[in-house]
Amino acid sequence: MSAKLTPKLTPKLTLGPVLFNWKPEVWRDFYFRIADEADVDTVYVGEAVCSKRAPFYEPYIADVVERLLGAGKEVVLTTLALIMNSREMKALRETAEDSELMVEANDVSACALLAGRPHVIGPYVNVYNEGTLKYFTDQGAVRVCLPVELGRDAIKALKASTSVNNDVALEVQVFGRLPLAVSARCYHARSHMLHKDSCQFVCDRDPDGMELDTLNDEPFLVVNGIQTMSHSYQNLSAELAEMQTLGITHFRLSPHTADMVAVANIYRGVLDGTLSPDQADTQLADLIGEVSFSNGYYYGAKGVDFVAA
């Protein structure tokens, strides 16, 4: 490989948007604590999953953003992954046009609306190769959080392609359940024999997602409204060092009810070299309880696998 040495940049820890339907006050207090205590550089705020949830915590967004900015965090407003109706379309247009903050696009419509000014592309937009990466970079994307199924080989190829035009940063989710699918249908509502339009917001009963087991009681996936996620928690603590040498600069932690301040400290410790990946895994396992880790996508294996580094 014609290896060009990528200068090792200071790694950034980012906190992805809360993907679950948390009570509005819980949501607000979570971000207040992140602002006050978490060693993360960037915080994504907003709704990526279901537009029906947003009105509940919207009154708190301004306070949350202010607190995060006051704490020196970069704040990025995130947007919906699936835009299905004119109300959602209108809200997206307003966010894209009015926001003074950086916006994360999770649907191609948002990429189009944000073209011509700096923006982030989230993991729900299919950026699988250098052709698409270059297209979006030319349109003003400054950072792309890669789709979850892309691994090491894709990262190498993408980074090689951007060595000439090195103005786009790459981000990878390193912690938390993986967003695997979105649907027009709400499986939380369906599981509770409710229709989506009268869902009673039952997804708020499962702040880390509703467990979905196989018929022989094996944990498999979790349901989060219209979204389906891995049951396992992605954990790329052991891959952080290699990803830095490959040119990844931003590492995303996806929020859970586990102590995210502690999670951030663990990943920061590994990035700083004060904590070994083994120590990190032991501490993370204590935080998340009886749930498996996965890292298979990184190695081109099944997403569910946990491959020894």
Partner: protein, 329 residues
Amino acid sequence: MSALLELVCPAGTPASLHGAVENGADAVYLGFRDETNARNFPGLNFSRPELEDGLLFAHDRGCQVFLAVNTFPEAGNPGPWHKAIDDAAALGVDCVILADIGLLNYAATHHPDLRRHLSVQASASNPDSINFYVDAFGVKRVVLPRVLSIPEIADLNKQIAVETEVFVFGGLCVMAEGRCQLSSYATGQSPNINGVCSPASHVRYEEDAGNMVSKLGDFTINAFGEGEPAGYPTLCKGRFVTAGKASYLFEEPTSLNAASMLPELAKAGVTALKIEGRQRGRAYVSQVVAAFRRAADAVEAGEAVPELGLENITEGQAKTSGAFNKSWR
């Protein structure tokens, strides 16, 4: 001939192509025999010479040929995808069906005269997405994701200046197409990268206490009692347990059949009707195409949609109208 509702039919093999053309397809869609198309299954698809023959056969009979190049090119290896587009242009296919933005850009730049349709795998479900693909890459038609109701399709068609094509029969994705990683999570093989979902190479059937258990990778997808036919373990059509209750949470093992809705779809401004099933044999394709030919002709003549008699071939003998009437809303 410009039909009121154009019938776009699957051709997984040359034999199916012949069946579709002879039974009244206005267009057939097919893919090359590799990972550049989203039905990359063993024994399916076309070599270059087979495509040449297929083009002759179809064009002689007034039928168009669409080439699906609708997976997402592998990073660092765009060659096979670019070559598929180059060959499509050289061989004279009537359009390419694309999903990846980099590939759309390549096709629009290198082969501006080659007509481009947007694949369902791009999951363009709203006017701003669709208008982006039209403005940026000159897309002439959008295959709509199977998430929209008929009123939503009608509303969408008022806000876009491009033809729309909708699925009316066959397998049904319940997740937003092109945005589902369930298969790769369980098997390592993905629709977007490898062009396969729930691949047969990762399927096993096991006996367990009198039940037939179907597995995908290491996960049980379903279990069938004695005498119950054991269906194929497509991940999202499996039976799982949530909140202590086993159910087909994502979708029952049903097929889409929207034949009765063709008049409404025509009224909603839809240009083309798509039949799913490139993995199906000639007999199936011939029967379905002939039935939908009768239906489309009836709609064009202002008559009621006739009984199509397709009950014997729908998956699990059950059918659904999918998202079209949003019964699960």
